[in-house]
Symmetry: C5
Subunit: 186 residues, 5 copies
């Protein structure tokens, strides 16, 4: 029956960049998903895609696929569909919680959904949220948008292909967006 979820990935990838994902499967490349929002005030998805293009194996070992949704509460199901319908092995989900109190509650709901989507698919979805009030200075905020989006895209790459890089940095106070905190100073 049309439009009814049956849990099975569709035979043919659909929508934006669908052809690319189809190629990826035919050539046995992995696909890394990127999903962002119209609500954010910075092209977070564009940064993530650009960072992935500069990782080793782009275009040979893995390709990317992008979706954009209205707001960050739409990210979770979009990420899950990227995994289950488009075959993504990992997804980077990017959004910007606004300044108001209600935005903080919505961010919590969005995060909970992203958490559940990961558990339902056994696939990591890296949540990249930049809060609009992390800085009053637009230039600083822009750098946070840029750096955090790129850093987590690279984390996605490491998780798939070089997990030992993550183990080597365990407990080192690594951050994304601002500078690293570093390990506890004794």
């Amino acid at each position: 029956m049309k439009g009814v979820s049956d849990g099975a990935p569709r035979a043919i990838a659909q929508g934006v960049n669908g052809a690319g994902a189809l190629c990826a499967r035919m050539e046995d490349m992995d696909t890394i998903g990127v999903v962002d929002t119209m609500f954010a005030r910075y092209d977070m998805g564009g940064e993530a895609l650009d960072a992935l293009k500069q990782c080793p194996g782009y275009g040979t070992r893995f390709t990317t696929i992008r979706r954009t949704v209205p707001g960050f509460k739409d990210l979770a199901v979009a990420a899950k569909k990227l995994i289950e319908e488009d075959g993504c092995r990992i997804v980077v989900a990017l959004g910007m919680p606004g300044k108001e109190a209600v935005d903080k509650v919505c961010a919590h709901e969005a995060s909970t959904g992203i958490m559940t989507a990961q558990l339902m698919t056994n696939t990591p979805i890296l949540e990249v949220f930049v809060h609009e009030d992390e800085s009053d200075d637009p230039a600083i905020l822009a750098s946070v948008f840029k750096n955090r989006s790129r850093d987590h895209a690279i984390n996605a790459y490491f998780m798939l292909y070089e997990p030992e890089k993550l183990v080597a940095r365990a407990g080192q106070g690594v951050r994304q967006g601002f500078g690293d905190a570093g390990p506890l100073k004794l």
Copy 2:
């Protein structure tokens, strides 16, 4: 056994507009679901339906189906049933959280349910909430009800049929109800 959930969509669509949905299937049209509440103080569902009627392909490529429930905590299961029993490919769920503190908690519960329903069905449910205290001016509040309900109905259309429109607006600070925030100004 009667009334026991078996996970399978019913052979024949039931209830309000059921005949319409049945027709949609027979003619291979998509169905877009709209569910709203008696609790809200504005006919949000009516606006969403009207906006969808003015989208390309209404009556040929897609039709609509409407449900109304008592309050916004009843939206999630109603939306899930629209997807699984009535074959909707996307749902617009509209409600109005009240002014009291307890209403905010209820809104959070309602949102969590809508989030989970999406993940269980791999189908987007666009949550359209207008908080009763977004404006003290009834005229402004009415315009928010109207615009947000219509804007998200159109987003549902775009998500199904023109997803590239969403990608083109990624990170542009797009809003529904009030004016757009626009991208970060540097």
Copy 3:
């Protein structure tokens, strides 16, 4: 194996009113479930049952079944069992959150459970909560208990048998317990 949940409804309804539910099935009547608590300070379940008895079709088209649990955090699983083991097509779940801060958190947990139970069964469970601090006047509070319990029981009836009544009242600011807020006044 005895006592292990296997997801299948039991062949024979058990417990309080079990015989009634069994009869309902044999005669192809629907069953509407009512579950309330010992914790509440008003017989909410009794009111709901009485209101349902006065709805058209009671005893011919539908019957009722009642459960009572210790507190409102026990409502969700009891409602789910009414649906999956006793074949209820809809459930009215009634409880009274207390006055303390911890009671508010518990109410949130109870509501989340009721939400999830609905999504797992594709069956509406109408949550009827009366907060002990909605009024300091016992007479007013009693009227809220009575009216809200009855109003939601009738909503359950409408959702099953006359859903068009709900659509007709969409966006009309309908309330249960106190008077209606009415539509936004412009």
Copy 4:
């Protein structure tokens, strides 16, 4: 494959009191589960077990099984395993949230897990939490620990074997630990 959850109850009950549970099944007795924590500052599980021993049918109609986990966030999965692996028909889960703000958040997480475990198993898990700050007087607090643990153990017995006792007390303001609130006084 060893250690991988397969959803099936184990053929042979394991761990503490495993032999007892095995006997219970062979003799077709029910099993009531009791799980408590090392974190709590009172032997809550011991009280619950003792109260159950004094209920009619102990040792003939039902037996008990006990588990202890580190803290209350470990209760949910332990209770679910008691149901699915050890065949318990109901579980009493006992814990003590501490005094700090972070303890309150953890209590909420623990409760949410217990709620979900019930819904996944269609089996009641009675949550018995005594907050460390319910009284500054150790003697009063000890009586709350004792009474609430015992009262809920007896509730578990009633839910299984005498559910009509609960219906008879619906809306009567029944409490566990401190005295009953009683029905609303008009």
Copy 5:
């Protein structure tokens, strides 16, 4: 299809220490999983692994496997994959919530995910969180990191192999990181 979750454990363990886990299965040893973060400012995973090495049966009855993820919100799915794909019978998940208000919300989301992962797998995941603001003194904080990580690793060992040790300490006010609170003093 590559990269799509199918619920089945992979035939061959992958990634960091994969060979060790494979050996464990071939020799019928249990595997205990340890997952920590780059975000934390102390090598929590290293402490847990070291404590497990000193438990009876290390290398004969059980072995260990380690993963490191970016932040604590990535722990839940990593732990679930350790259970379902790498066959772990129990997992120790270690992280450090930061000092800011948003970090507390994130910690709640991370905990909720870990809770759900346990319920989906019927396998305990011991959450070991050290809040960055538990002490202003780096030396004290370091001792909390060390002791809590090691204590919970040992709890994981006891839960698998000596559960009667936990029962013996029920209600004794046992803590990890700081000193025990002890039972209520009357």
